[in-house]
Symmetry: C2
Subunit: 269 residues, 2 copies
C-alpha cells in the first residue's frame, strides 16, 4: 500500500485509528474457547464490528508466538482475512524485529511476503544495515521505534549525548538511510511534550502512536502537534477496545469504544 492510499482511506473513514490485536486467551470471552481457532474467531468478530472505523490493524506477534504453531496459524488467518476482505486497510505486524543484514532480510520476507503485511515495526539498536533490508520493499513500510510509551524509554532513549537524545539520533540518522521514504516511526503518546519537536525532525513521515488510553496518553495533544498535511498519524488502541467486554456483546462494545475515538478523530481531519 502506498502512503497516499493510506491517507486516502483515512479521509474516507475520517479515522486514523489503529486497533491493536493483542489477543490473550485469558482475556477473551470464554465461550470463544469452544471454537476451533479461538484467536482467529475473536479477531474476525472484532474486525467485522470495527472495520469501517479503523484505518489499520496491528497484531502484536508476541501474543501469537506465545501459542506456538497454533498461534502462528491464527496470525496467518487474521492477515489473510484482512487482505481478502478489507484490502484497503493498512496492516502492521508489531514485531519489533531487527538483526544483522541477511537476517533482517529474512524477517522482511516473513512479514512482507510470506504473511503479507503492509508494514512491520523494527528496533533501531543495531543500526543502518539492520534496517535497510526492510526498506528495500517498495510500498511496504518500516516503522522504526523512536520514542516508546513505556517507563523504560527513559533508560536509554532519552539519554542525551552531544546535546541530542538517543531517539533524536535515531530519527535524524535514519533519515539518511537508503529508501528512507519507506520509514514511519513509533512515538509514544505519553510523551506529548516531545511531539512538536519530533515533527520538526520528521515533518513528512507517518507516526504510529501507541499509549493512548491504557497507557495514559492524550489524543488531543497528539493531534495538536502530530498531524501533518497527509494526516501523518496512526493512533493505536488495543486493550481498551478489544477487551471492552468479555461477554457475548464483546464485539459491539469494542465498536462503541472504537467509535468514541473515531468521533474525536473526525473533528481533526
Amino acid at each position: 500500500m502506498t502512503t497516499q492510499q493510506l491517507t486516502q482511506q483515512i479521509h474516507q473513514k475520517k479515522s486514523f485509528l489503529c486497533i491493536g490485536l493483542d489477543v490473550d486467551l485469558n482475556k477473551i470471552p470464554q465461550f470463544l474457547l469452544q471454537e476451533e481457532d479461538p484467536i482467529f474467531a475473536f479477531n474476525k468478530a472484532i474486525i467485522d464490528a470495527t472495520h469501517d472505523l479503523a484505518a489499520a490493524y496491528k497484531p502484536n506477534t508476541a501474543f501469537y508466538e506465545a501459542y506456538g504453531v497454533k498461534g502462528w496459524t491464527s496470525l496467518q488467518k487474521t492477515i489473510n482475512y484482512l487482505n481478502e476482505k478489507h484490502p484497503e486497510i493498512f496492516t502492521i505486524a508489531d514485531a519489533k524485529r531487527g538483526d544483522i543484514g541477511n537476517t533482517s532480510r529474512m524477517y522482511a520476507q516473513a512479514f512482507f511476503e510470506d504473511l503479507g503485511f503492509d508494514s512491520v515495526t523494527v528496533a533501531p539498536y543495531m543500526g543502518q544495515d539492520s534496517v535497510e533490508p526492510f526498506l528495500e520493499f517498495e510500498n511496504k513500510h518500516t516503522i522504526l521505534l523512536a520514542l516508546t510509551s513505556n517507563m523504560g524509554s527513559k533508560d536509554f532513549q532519552t539519554l542525551s549525548f552531544n546535546e541530542k537524545s538517543l531517539f533524536e539520533n535515531v530519527l535524524e540518522t535514519s533519515k539518511t538511510w537508503k529508501n528512507s521514504h519507506n520509514l514511519m516511526y513509533v512515538v509514544g503518546a505519553t510523551k506529548a511534550d516531545y511531539f512538536e519537536h519530533i515533527r520538526k525532525i520528521v515533518p513528512d513521515n507517518f507516526l504510529l502512536v501507541p499509549g493512548v488510553g491504557a497507557q495514559g496518553g492524550s489524543l488531543e495533544d497528539v493531534c495538536k502537534y502530530g498531524l501533518n498535511s497527509q494526516v501523518g498519524l496512526l493512533i493505536n488502541s488495543s486493550r481498551e477496545i478489544i477487551y471492552a467486554s468479555n461477554q457475548e456483546d464483546f464485539a459491539q462494545k469494542a465498536r462503541e469504544k472504537a467509535s468514541a475515538l473515531q468521533q474525536i478523530m473526525r473533528t481533526k481531519l
Copy 2:
C-alpha cells in the same frame, strides 16, 4: 539450565562453541528438499554430527518465520529434538525481542515455556520494563544485545554521552535490574578491542560472541580478554559450519569445521 551446568558441560566437552542454526533453503544441500521437513532434516543431521563438539545451539528465529507456519513447526521440532536427545546442551532462541512489559511476558512464555529454550536474545532499546519480564524465569537466561558485530553497531551503540557509550550504559544500567543474575550479553567479536573493557563492567556474566569467522572476528583475541573463572564465553559460528558443504557430505564437513574451532578452544580451558 543453571550457569553452573553450562560451565560444567563446557569443561566436559572442552568447547564453548555455539552453532548457529540459520537455515536457508537456498543454501542447504538440494537433495534435502525431498524430505517432508527439509529444515528439520538439515538441523538433525548437523546436530547429530556436532553435538559432542558444541556447548550450545542457536536457531535464529528469522530463518524459521520466513517459512511461516511450516518454519515455526521446524523450529519446534528442532528444539524438541535438542531437549529430548541432548538435554545437557544450552539452547538459544536468537530472536532479538523486546516490547512493553505485558508483551515481553508473552515473548518470554513463547520461548521459555512453549518452545522450551534455555535462553533468548533481547534488544535493550525499550529499557528495564521491557527486559525484566524475561528475567523473572529462574534458570532461564536473557541475552541482552550490548555491542553487536555488524557495521550498524556504530550508528548508535558506540555513540558516547557523558563519556560513556550507549553500549556501556546498557551494560551498567542492566546490572541494576531485578534478577540481573539471569543476564548474559551479546558482544561482537569484530570488536576485540572492547573486550577487556567490557569484562571490567560485567566480570561474571556469560558473553555470547557472534562474528567469529564469516564476520571477521579473531578467536584468540576474544579468549584473551573474554574468558573468566566460569569460562563466561559462548562463541558462535553459523554459516562457516553449517554451510561448509552443500553436498552429501555436508554434516561431515560441518563436523570438521566445528572440530577445528573446538581444537583451539580446548587449549584455552
